[in-house]
């Protein structure tokens, strides 16, 4: 019995050893698995990040093509409404490669871009990322004041800046006055105890620490207080009562989009207007709503008490200086002036008389292309100015009243929008931004991003299918068959149906609802998106400053110590 028991224990050592070996093996397996998993996860993160960046690059490429109107390498089939590009051969490390497929729908001037990036590794693994972006054309008159270098408030002025909408009617402090008087200026400076009362938004490069709870806005050290004056305000209807600066209405980090505008090429010059010898004489230009192009190769002077009346739709290019001592009138029913002035522009006397009182009827492009380094615009005169002025290379002087007395004419009101390199407010002035000018877009606008999102997995699958169809690899009949099946309508529906209404990519739904219903829905969805983007803009406006991202403005904003190269010596003016 004892012998049997002993016998049964034989081999237990090997079993034990094998058990230990088994446990060890398990440990090895777990260890390797864990380490491998960690490595795979790190690889995934790396490739996914690359795919995401490249998908955004696709949006960048679409913005570039749109803004420069350059469509090399793009397929403009489908009447140009849908434009596609496949950008392949992006070399990645370790012999991986990537390609970007971009699909752009013009969408009535509000383009939608869908970008798909795929990173292919040598192991055959594929990492994809898809983005959808909504773009909008940038309006050169999208703000009240857009100033590339600096805005000055001078000579004890109280400067009021607000907005209205000329499409609704004339400016009315009670019925047609809004809180969108947007001032966008790289820098601002307040001299001689001047104050700016901005009833709207302010965007400026205020430096990294322009605001802190402890220092408050009214401290002397605060850059903003020095820029808009110690009694300056940035408020709106929704601001707290008594607030001087509503922080939700200030952006401390901006980027100004400048567009180069060129004067139209006009072959034959027009004779200079000849004013009669009488005390008051008028010369008319233009007769109808049809565009008329006029070129004056020299200076244009409108003497005192003389009037140049624009009665039709006139595009006037003046190569020299313009001196208005009398009046430049734009009159209904057809009067509309687009003026390109390549020299200096000075306005006194009766001044700019826009009888429409609608700024879009008098648009001035000053020093287009910045050909003259010292171009300047002096705006005085007796008549309130209703105009949209684009002078990104020039200093613009707005003469108001100094202690109740006018500088150069009794006017101290500007209605419209102004873009300049520098703006100088002399004394008291009222600036009213016409919001209807936000719709003003040049023939070849810059496109900017409204928003972008990642496509969800269903949308991404659908996009994959469309891309396979659009860019068949030739790997099989399937892709070619799909390509053949896809026509404009189906691409629109399949792709931009995704973009606009998520899951409404089902072709069966299309059959049920009919094209017009879907088109209506898409338009409604696009409208909603634009509205949402508008709301989003306010959120964007509240974006905080990124440290180190503000150029060199940290310590020299609006100071009076003359340490800036571009500081204006006020005494010299």
């Amino acid at each position: 019995m004892r012998r049997e028991k002993t016998k049964s224990r034989r081999g237990s050592a090997i079993i034990t050893a094998l058990m230990v070996a088994g446990i060890g093996g398990l440990l090895i397996s777990i260890m390797i698995r864990s380490a491998t998993g960690e490595k795979i996860a790190a690889d995934k993160r790396y490739h996914n990040q690359n795919a995401s960046r490249l998908a955004i690059s696709g949006v960048e490429m679409a913005i570039m093509a749109l803004s420069n109107d350059v469509w090399d390498k793009w397929d403009l089939s489908f009447n140009g409404e849908i434009r596609t590009q496949q950008f392949s051969g992006v070399e990645m490390a370790n012999h991986s490669s990537a390609e970007i497929s971009i699909l752009l729908k013009m969408n009535d001037g509000f383009p939608i871009v869908v970008s798909n990036a795929e990173v292919l590794t040598t192991t055959g693994a594929s990492y994809k990322n898809q983005k959808e972006a909504n773009l909008r054309p940038h309006s050169i008159f999208g703000n009240g004041l857009t100033v590339g270098t600096r805005t000055y408030f001078l000579y004890y002025g109280n400067i009021g800046i607000d907005s209205y909408n000329s499409a609704v009617g004339l400016y009315d402090p009670f019925l047609n006055r809004n809180d969108n008087g947007t001032v966008v200026s790289t820098n601002l400076a307040s001299y001689h105890s001047s104050n700016a009362q901005i009833f709207g938004y302010l965007g400026a490069n205020l430096g990294a620490n322009w605001y802190s709870e402890s220092s408050g806005i009214q401290q002397a050290s605060n850059p903003l207080a020095r820029q808009i004056g110690y009694g300056g305000k940035v408020t709106g209807f929704d601001s707290a009562r008594g607030a001087l600066v509503d922080l939700d209405r200030v952006v401390g980090d901006i980027h100004i989009i400048e567009e180069e505008i060129e004067a139209p090429a006009i072959k034959y010059p027009t004779d200079l207007p000849r004013f009669g010898k009488g005390k008051k004489s008028t010369v008319e230009l233009g007769q109808s709503a049809e565009s008329e192009f006029h070129l004056i190769n020299s200076d244009l002077t409108i003497p005192k008490r003389k009037t140049l009346r624009i009665s039709g739709n006139v595009v006037l290019v003046v190569k020299g200086n313009i001196n208005i001592q009398g009046a430049l009138e734009v009159v209904p029913p057809f009067g509309r002036l687009t003026l390109y002035c390549e020299g200096s522009l000075s306005v006194i006397g009766n001044g700019l008389v826009n009888e429409w009182q609608q700024p879009d009827k008098l648009v001035i492009f000053h020093n287009p292309g910045g050909l003259y380094s010292n171009g300047a615009v002096w705006l005085g005169g007796d008549t309130p100015i209703h105009a949209a002025i684009y002078a990104p290379h020039s200093s613009v002087y707005l003469f108001g009243h100094y202690q109740g007395r006018p500088f150069y004419g009794s006017n101290k009101d500007f209605y419209g929008s102004l873009v300049a390199k520098n703006v100088l407010f002399y004394g008291d002035y009222e600036f009213h931004f016409d919001e209807s000018l936000k719709e003003y877009v040049t023939d070849n606008p810059t496109y900017v991003l409204d928003n972008f999102v990642n496509l969800d997995s269903d949308e991404a699958k659908q996009l994959d299918q469309v891309i396979d169809g659009l860019f068949p690899t030739g790997s099989g009949d399937e892709a070619e068959a799909l390509a053949a099946l896809l026509d404009l309508e189906e691409i629109e529906l399949a792709l931009f149906g995704i973009a606009e209404s998520g899951s409404e990519i089902n072709l069966a739904k299309k059959a049920k609802k009919g094209k017009s219903a879907l088109a209506q829905e898409r338009r409604a969805a696009a409208q909603e998106r634009r509205e949402a983007a508008g709301k989003g803009k306010k959120e964007k406006l509240t974006k905080k400053v990124k440290p180190g991202d503000n150029g060199d403005n940290d310590g020299d904003n609006g100071d009076n110590d003359g340490d800036n190269d571009d500081d204006l010596e006020v005494g010299d003016e």
């Binding site: 002993t6 094998l18 380490a35 690059s57 490390a93 974006k543």
Partner: protein, 180 residues
């Protein structure tokens, strides 16, 4: 003698109940031989390992231990690589972000090929013999290609290389500040 036997019985009972394998080792050490040889003939056949058992067991265990060490080494290298790759991914991300928020003029002013310093973002760099390169090329008019490349050595001295590519245009997605 009797007391010794009692103690041994006690120990044996204890070991039998709790550590049967240890008992076997104890037996194989010869203690049992000294105590039981007179009581029971042929007791050598009842305990101890055979040489074959010992050899196989030892070999198996040695194999496992070797495997464990090897796996440990491999695991450490894998983990190290994963950590390095995560760090590099993060480094590429942060450097690319810094470039993307530059203004177009500044981007145009960047050197075609230059190195960048990871110490600008991280106090410690967990990479051996690392090299960080930034390449800026004109892909087409108005479109810049930014290629960031990081290479480093792992524990075995193997060179690893990762990059991040993006394309930038003026007034594009990443224009700094609020576009106005």
């Amino acid at each position: 003698m009797k007391q010794q036997k009692q103690r041994q019985n006690l120990l044996r009972g204890y070991l039998r109940s709790w550590m049967p394998f240890a008992l076997r080792f104890a037996k194989s050490a010869g203690k049992r031989d000294r105590t039981d040889r007179s009581a029971s003939a042929g007791s050598e056949k009842q305990g101890g390992f055979t040489l074959a058992e010992l050899l196989v067991g030892t070999a198996a265990n040695l194999l496992v231990i070797a495997g464990l060490f090897s796996a440990l080494g491999q695991g450490i290298i894998y983990s190290e690589n994963a950590r390095s790759l995560d760090f590099v991914t993060q480094l590429l991300d942060v450097e690319m972000d810094e470039i993307q928020v530059l203004g177009w003029t500044e981007i145009n002013a960047l050197d075609t090929r230059a190195s960048f310093d990871p110490h600008a973002y991280f106090a410690q760099i967990p990479l051996r013999k690392h090299e960080c390169i930034r390449e800026v090329t004109n892909e087409s008019a108005g479109l810049k290609k930014i290629n960031l490349i990081v290479s480093w050595h792992d524990l075995r001295g193997m060179v690893h290389r990762r990059n991040s590519v993006t394309f930038l245009t003026e007034n594009g997605v990443y224009s700094p500040g609020t576009a106005l």
